[in-house]
């Protein structure tokens, strides 16, 4: 199950995570990519819930910590777009208005939804192979 067998469509097919870079980092071990994707899908909801509840409580340092955690996971699966957005959320000045954090979180939710769809599609295609 090497990347060569995927017909070279890795980058065109997946816009929300960088599959070629991901495969390159794990020495083309597609099974391991699949494993990490499953792990991410398992923990993603709880990570997002942590951010949301910290935001709702007005807990800026809790928001930053929860965002930092999600960012780490996103970087490991090479979801660069969402990682960038969550980094913005992490770096929002605690003294700034809450609306900015909420708007950034909303953007993040959309990107995570797209990412999870894509990861689910990738998982199905990986199992089919």
């Amino acid at each position: 199950m090497s990347s060569r067998e995927s017909g070279g469509s890795d980058s065109a097919e997946w816009g929300h995570f960088d599959l070629p870079a991901f495969l390159d980092r794990v020495q083309e071990d597609r099974e391991f990519v699949f494993e990490l994707v499953q792990m991410f899908l398992e923990i993603c909801d709880s990570r997002m819930r942590d951010i949301r509840s910290a935001l709702e409580e007005g807990d800026r340092s809790g928001t930053r910590d929860a965002a930092h955690k999600l960012k780490g996971s996103l970087k490991f699966i090479h979801a660069t777009k969402a990682a960038k957005t969550v980094e913005q959320l992490e770096q929002i000045d605690p003294a700034s208005r809450t609306e900015l954090a909420i708007a950034t979180f909303s953007k993040l939710e959309t990107e995570i939804a797209h990412l999870c769809d894509e990861l689910a599609r990738f998982s199905v295609s990986a199992v089919d192979r």
Binding site: Q27, L36, H68
Partner: protein, 492 residues
């Protein structure tokens, strides 16, 4: 298919990439991993298992401390974790004087904290998501480092010596004088230049000075100027900013900055490229450094110890080394005597080296017969202690029942002739056979210089040549001689 590694697990997968790294099969080693992100944890496990390591995984710093046992020599610890952070974990390990070497795993933008962790005693750091090859190189280095530390400590405990006295606190007047010099100069917070032939233990002396000096609680950072590629040495010493050159993906502090508060040991300083010497000079004068591609100037407080087997004075005359840099480095000077000038130390050195070997191999203690020791005393040891170690290592491979006899000693070079033999000329002829005239001339000059305590004029008279000739020959043969003048407390 998915394993959830938040709970502590032992992974014993041996990968196809397992390879001998000259010392031990990676699969024999257990590596501790601490990270609260299961994806990061699993990625680290996968990378290490692929190289044949066994891993123990935990999700916070406290669990890491609890999980450490005597078999674990390397730990990969995330900086930000609940309960106990990576930095707190490193500090706790340092306090407990544990042998484990910690590689800190940090996110981008946490470099400052990673550097703090290194100052607290961490071996190195990697940033997430890490490059597998880079990580494995670091793990191997850390493992080797830990093994050496452990061997050294256990050996010292076994022989009941204070640390650092191992190679020197023995029988010869030269060693006693050297130890006294180290004791005197350690307390003076000035730069020191250590000179001496290869294999005479210059890096050990540097470490002893650091450990006995006022900066012993700070880091000891060693850089071998001869081992680094010319185009990497500036970045390694002074650091770089992100984007400063191709491959500079992160801001990275140099070794000079990492040594802040401690000692920077520049080994083989004679190999520092001429074009980099002004930058080092600036640092020595102003105590400031500027990373490549960065305008910011950082102030650092570092004591510099440099070492060389080359004759820097001659190199200065030949414009191969900056004279102003030489004088900045050579505030105090220590000369490491060659082994042939301290043959009385050979029995003790043998005992120490053999204890280390038996410990490393977990074998019975090696013994060496008195006539074998006597034979070792007749050799000229051009490779010094390092050569003695190699000879003993080979002997332990050949000997029976852990007892080294004369027959097990295999020395490639001819033995040193005794004074009586010199008089008869017989053994001298045997020992000289097979060597080129240039080698013989070099040896004659080296031995005479040592016998004359580095006094070139006296040596020239002994050799029956002019003073000018001896200078020319020293230069031609790149002979490192004991400094005859300006030797201060290091006079041997």
């Amino acid at each position: 298919m998915v394993s959830h590694p938040l709970a502590r697990t032992d992974s014993t997968v041996k990968g196809e990439q397992a390879e001998l790294q000259g010392e031990a099969l990676a699969g024999q080693e257990r590596i501790l991993i601490a990270d609260d992100d299961p994806i990061a944890l699993r990625s680290l496990e996968h990378c290490l298992a692929g190289a044949g390591y066994t891993t123990v995984s935990v999700s916070n710093g406290q669990e890491a401390l609890d999980a450490l046992d005597a078999d674990i020599q390397v730990a990969l610890i995330d900086l930000y974790m609940p309960v106990m952070t990576g930095l707190e974990c490193v500090q706790a390990l340092r306090k407990q004087q544990r042998d484990v070497q910690v590689i800190v795993v940090s996110g981008e933008g946490q470099i400052k904290d990673a550097v703090s962790a290194m100052k607290a005693g961490a071996f190195e750091y990697v940033t997430k998501p890490f490059d597998s090859e880079e990580l494995l190189v670091l793990v191997r280095q850390a493992s080797r480092h830990a093994r050496l530390n452990r061997n050294n400590r256990e050996l010292l405990e076994a022989v009941g010596h204070s640390q650092t006295a191992t190679d020197f606190a023995t029988a010869s007047p030269a060693s006693v004088e050297l130890l006294e010099s180290i004791g005197k100069l350690s307390g003076i917070d000035s730069n020191i230049l250590i000179t001496g032939e290869s294999g005479t233990g210059k890096s050990t002396i540097a470490r002893m000075i650091h450990q006995r000096g006022p900066r012993s609680n700070g880091p000891f950072v060693a850089v071998n100027c001869a081992a680094l590629p010319k185009d990497l040495i500036e970045s390694e010493l002074f650091g770089h900013a992100k984007g400063a050159f191709t491959g500079a993906t992160n801001d990275r502090p140099g070794r000079v900055e990492i040594a802040d508060g401690g000692t920077l040991f520049l080994d083989e300083i004679g190999d520092l490229p001429l074009e980099l010497q002004p930058k080092l000079l600036t640092f020595l004068q102003d105590h400031t450094v500027q990373r490549i591609g960065c305008n910011k100037v950082n102030t650092v407080d570092v004591r510099v110890i440099a070492a060389t087997h080359q004759d820097l004075r001659t190199m200065c005359q030949d414009k191969l080394f900056r004279e102003d840099l030489f004088y900045r480095l050579n505030v105090l000077e220590i000369f490491a005597p060659p082994l042939r000038a301290r043959v009385e130390d050979i029995p003790d050195l043998c005992a120490n080296v053999l204890a280390r070997i038996s410990h490393r191999r977990q074998s019975n203690s090696f013994e060496i017969a008195p006539d074998a020791i006597e034979l070792l005393g007749t050799h000229s040891w051009p490779g010094n202690i390092r050569e003695l170690e190699n000879v003993l290592e080979r002997a332990t491979a050949f000997c029976d029942d852990c007892r080294i006899t004369v027959g097990d000693i295999r020395i490639s070079e001819s033995p040193r002739a005794s004074d009586d033999d010199k008089a008869s000329g017989l053994n001298q002829a045997i020992s000289l056979a097979g060597q080129t005239l240039a080698e013989l001339e070099k040896r004659a000059i080296q031995d005479t210089l040592t016998a004359c305590n580095g006094n070139k004029a006296q040596s020239a008279r002994e050799l029956g040549i002019s003073e000018k000739s001896i200078y020319n020959k020293i230069k031609r043969h790149s002979i490192m001689s004991p400094p005859a003048t300006n030797r201060g407390a290091s006079d041997q």
